[in-house]
Symmetry: C2
Subunit: 309 residues, 2 copies
Amino acid sequence: MIRRLCVIGVGLIGGSLARALRQAQAVGEVVGAGRDPRHLQQAVELGVIDRYSTDLAEAVSGADMVVVCVPLGAMEAVFRRIAPALESEAVLTDVGSAKGCVVAAARAAFGAPPPRFVPGHPIAGTEKSGVAASFAELFVRHRVILTPLATTDPEAHARVRAMWEAAGAEVVDMDVALHDEVLAATSHLPHLLAFTTVDTLARMHDHEEIFRYAAGGFRDFTRIAASDPVMWRDICLFNRDAILAVLGRFRDELAEVEQAVREGDGAALLERFRRAKAARDAHAALLNRQESGDRKSEVGSQKSEGRNS
Amino acid sequence: MIRRLCVIGVGLIGGSLARALRQAQAVGEVVGAGRDPRHLQQAVELGVIDRYSTDLAEAVSGADMVVVCVPLGAMEAVFRRIAPALESEAVLTDVGSAKGCVVAAARAAFGAPPPRFVPGHPIAGTEKSGVAASFAELFVRHRVILTPLATTDPEAHARVRAMWEAAGAEVVDMDVALHDEVLAATSHLPHLLAFTTVDTLARMHDHEEIFRYAAGGFRDFTRIAASDPVMWRDICLFNRDAILAVLGRFRDELAEVEQAVREGDGAALLERFRRAKAARDAHAALLNRQESGDRKSEVGSQKSEGRNS
């Protein structure tokens, strides 16, 4: 049970976590924090938070759990502002999409990563952003990866784990570097490719005609290109090495595919496509495990897309 | 009304067309044709076709509508085998994913594209293949592109249009070269990228760990990598020039993205991601138009993935 939760950055992830913990009756009071008072006021009106402050030190005062849900580029500044005001028993965690950079930010802001700091990353989300898109079931049957350090307090670790389990998630622990490599491969690379595909097509002279005839496969493939550009810029900047490693592998493979197409090498293409299909089919069960949770997100995302267009 | 329909290649597309026309009571008899008698027998048992022949000349005999649903690489051989046996009033069409090569195959097989040949391409499908995956609603609210030539008989054109409309599709006409360019951009490029992404990850030493932590975005992005490898090899071979053109544009853009990541150029990344998101949002309404039809396909595909894994 969390007595007072402070959520810094009340958007899709922070808002959904607050909603989930309220629904599970796992939290007493929820204090929101951020830069934009209108945005925070909206979170109050939606019933996501009880009150808010744009002064981060004030916001964390008296909180026993602080969750930082800001883009990776803002982590260090947030840590520096809350460092003097954190309660000694408060547990600190974050939801950043890369973990090496957040640990480095904590080291820079606090001198060393505080024992009661537990880096975390919920593997959930949609291409939407903002508190209006938040919902209590976002994390149900989704994984949350925690990357505790050797110096992390086991009791703080257990409290963060219990928080995410109360929100319906499956919590796993992972090494910081492995997390960043795995996420670069399964999330950061696909986002870069989806953004680049849409941008390539949008810059073609007959792009109106092109998009008009796109079908369901294209819609699924490019859905993640509607994600928040600032968040993804920060991921590219702050998980650079792991992204460059997998992007280099991809670039080399794509060059081989291009060469096979140019040379009309059907055998080479068939071998690649068969290997890929076999891998996709073999992992389909894993990929579909979170089906019902995702389905809800997709229904929401379609509504969002309808509004945008 | 079609008196006797001959479907050459009774898989997902051909089987779904037969089912749809039967359901709409728009066809009398359905004759299947192909190489594998067990496969065709299954189509009879599923009620998709009335009878079949593995002799293509025999199969088209007496048919007033012949739909060729085979991979692009098999088109010319099929045209050569049916050419002597086609009834003079029979309308011939195909469902190939590229159209320039099919027109060339018809020219090679018939001497010139027959006036009653109407090249066509339903923009529908799932990553599944085979007659067991076929269903009558596959084309509902999906587009079918016809690419008639200057020499195409208007009455034959009208009959193919009416056939697809009876199956629930929206039919549009397009120039052959524009079709091939548009499909290279919206379908062939994404499939190549999805195949290459999965193959890249599958070849990494810790691929088990990587796939284990993939979330919904990855699942959507790579769904099309479960598509039929032979069909996609043929598309690469037979729409080569249009694919190389768009693949070259993509490769150059991706190189710029990689450079921006390497240099930590956040402004360049943000500009690209914003432009891509704006294009994706602007076209979301178009992309979602066929939503309800696709949703049904996706439900089917999840079942299929469950079986495969």
